[in-house]
């Protein structure tokens, strides 16, 4: 018995060592990012890894002064949240049907719907631009939402269908025999069970939505409609020769998405434990 727990103890130590090494690999570059964003232009290169002699806040204040940072932030937030919501709703409905509709047509539809993730969407840019122009959505943040939802659907359907297929049939069978409508089964049984998968899909798409530069770049040129990454990338060009400002810009652009992740992953962890207690 004591032998076993010793072994377990050693294993934990090994695990912690592995994780601490990885944490260092992740956190060191972030440390470099942050400390250098508080330095002055050229002092970064005199001592790139040391703490700044004096914390210089002017990089951050200039950014807020030079740009409509809060507007960018709001735009990004609206676009990302709405896109995620719609993507999740549409994908999970479709995935539910595709998992239970066991016919050849369903198989083909499934393939058709996930095939989109195998092509670089950039190739379709001209057509998409024309569609947005036709819909009169250019230069507004609303042009981004349908495209992001469409971009997220293949992965959403792919992941969610697989997860729904994994649900033991007994769980739904009983409800079907009780005569519960299919939609109720979806909302009451399926959705809670695939909560971790839903947050996985949301987080998976959160990053490309938030960090997409391409579509804002070709759709939007008005300051009031710019997304955060588009806004800061312009600053990136403008401050090209002032690296400490660039780093401040980059730090600022990373914080909101990290916060969004944290709020979603909390949901994700809670969802999983809730499921585990039930199961």
């Amino acid at each position: 018995m004591s032998n076993k727990s010793l072994k377990k103890h050693n294993r934990h130590t090994l695990y912690h060592v592995i994780m601490i090494i990885w944490c260092f690999i992740v956190l060191f570059p972030i440390y470099v990012l942050i400390i250098n964003s508080f330095k002055t232009r050229l002092s970064i290169y005199i001592n790139p890894f040391g703490l700044p002699k004096k914390f210089n806040l002017s990089n951050y204040t200039t950014i807020f002064k030079d740009s409509s940072f809060l507007i960018y932030f709001k735009n990004s937030f609206v676009v990302v949240i709405l896109s995620l919501l719609l993507m999740i709703i549409f994908s999970s409905l479709a995935a539910y049907a595709l998992a239970f509709w066991r016919k050849k047509q369903a198989r083909l539809l499934f393939f058709f719907l996930i095939a989109g993730m195998m092509l670089p969407i950039k190739i379709a840019s001209i057509r998409i631009l024309e569609i947005m122009k036709f819909l009169n959505l250019l230069n507004t943040i609303w042009s981004l939402i349908p495209i992001y939802v469409a971009m997220g659907i293949p992965i959403g359907i792919f992941v969610l269908t697989e997860f729904i297929r994994e649900i033991p049939l007994e769980l739904t069978q009983a409800a079907i025999i009780d005569g519960a409508p299919r939609f109720k089964i979806f909302t009451l049984i399926i959705t809670p069970l695939i909560k971790p998968a839903l947050s996985t899909v949301a987080i998976y798409n959160l990053v490309p939505y938030w960090n997409d530069l391409w579509f804002p770049l070709i759709f939007i040129s008005d300051e009031e409609s710019k997304t955060l990454l588009l806004g800061v990338t312009r600053l990136f060009g403008q401050y090209q020769t002032d690296w400490s400002k660039v780093l401040a810009v980059l730090t600022l652009s990373a914080i909101p998405v990290l916060a969004l992740y944290l709020s979603m992953s909390k949901q994700f962890i809670e969802g999983v434990t809730a499921g585990a207690v039930k199961g």
């Binding site: 709703i89 195998m118 569609i131 409508p181 299919r182 980059l250 992953s265």
Partner: protein, 309 residues
């Protein structure tokens, strides 16, 4: 009573039209904003000309050009083989470590789990601009050299990203660093779904950690492993941003890190610097071939992972 019975019958085996209702919203958005523009653009692979006013049908000439044109075919083959290497490194390193991290984080008695999980995910939230900028700084002997030699690691101060033999591997590892959070997260979701009783039985019967892992966990999360493999495959064959941010759109040095994604972008979207005249037809041909390769890879993978059910 009779009505109820009929209802029951309906819900046991709904018709295809019923299921289609669930699919229609996704299908509509997908067709309008993705499938139609994509297919219409792929059609261009049979045309030549840089814009709509000078377009001309040329059959399979674009495809032929990719494989026979003297400079183009060298670049294309280079990009293809680099992409395979890039994918394999990501596959092995990122997903291997991802499983390991997920197992560690789902070990019930471990401490600081959510801290580790968050740290693993942080780089994933970065725009590639950040990643590229940071690693170019860190891996640069000019800036990191002094610090490294101070701690006795001076031999590490080498132009990793500027040397032909190391650049591709290093860029692949940077990509792993950034995207590690995704497979880890998916494996965690899968491992947490394993019923507790399975693991308890194993523990009572005295299975070692390794045995539990290979005999119970891996078989049970096989569908997710398949899914992650497919996603890694699909994403890395179209990878672009990370090369763009660290090695320029040319896949420096001397095209050593040129991937299908960067090759496609140069040919079909932006044109070669500084000429900047894109060839959408040729670009579409590149994308079409990549698409076919991916389909050929993904279909058997899907069969394999979901065929067991």
């Amino acid at each position: 009573m009779k009505l109820n019975k009929q209802n029951k019958h309906l819900s046991v085996e709904p018709s295809g039209w019923y299921w289609l209702l669930y699919i229609i919203p996704a299908l509509l958005i997908y067709i309008i904003f993705m499938a139609y523009p994509l297919l219409d653009s792929l059609r261009l692979s049979f045309y030549t000309g840089s814009n709509s006013s000078n377009r001309e049908f040329i059959g399979f000439l674009n495809f032929k050009k990719l494989f026979t044109d003297e400079t183009l075919s060298v670049r294309y083959k280079g990009a293809f083989s680099h992409t395979i290497i890039f994918f394999l490194i990501n596959m092995v390193f990122q997903n291997g470590l991802g499983i390991l991290f997920a197992v560690i984080i789902t070990t019930r008695t471990m401490k600081a789990k959510s801290f580790y999980q968050t740290v693993i995910f942080i780089p994933t939230t970065f725009a590639v601009l950040v990643t590229g900028y940071l690693w170019k700084l860190l891996l640069n002997p000019i800036w990191a050299g002094d610090t490294l030699s101070k701690i006795g690691l001076g031999f590490l101060a080498r132009p990793w990203l500027g040397t032909k033999s190391t650049a591709l591997v290093v860029v692949s590892l940077i990509s792993c660093w950034q995207w590690m959070g995704i497979p880890t997260m998916m494996f965690i979701a899968a491992l947490k779904n394993i019923p507790k009783d399975c693991l308890e039985v194993a523990s009572i019967e005295g299975a070692t950690a390794w045995q539990t892992f290979t005999k119970i966990k891996v078989p049970l999360i096989k569908p997710v492993i398949g899914m992650v493999t497919i996603l890694t495959f699909v994403n890395n064959f179209n990878a672009f941003d990370i090369i763009f941010a660290t090695e320029t759109v040319n896949g420096a040095p001397n095209y050593a890190t040129d991937l299908l994604g960067t090759f496609f972008y140069r040919i079909g979207i932006a044109g070669e610097h500084p000429i900047a005249i894109a060839d959408p037809g040729l670009g579409a041909a590149v994308a079409t071939i990549t698409f076919i390769v991916l389909l050929l890879g993904v279909i058997p993978m899907l069969r394999y992972t979901s065929g067991d059910n």
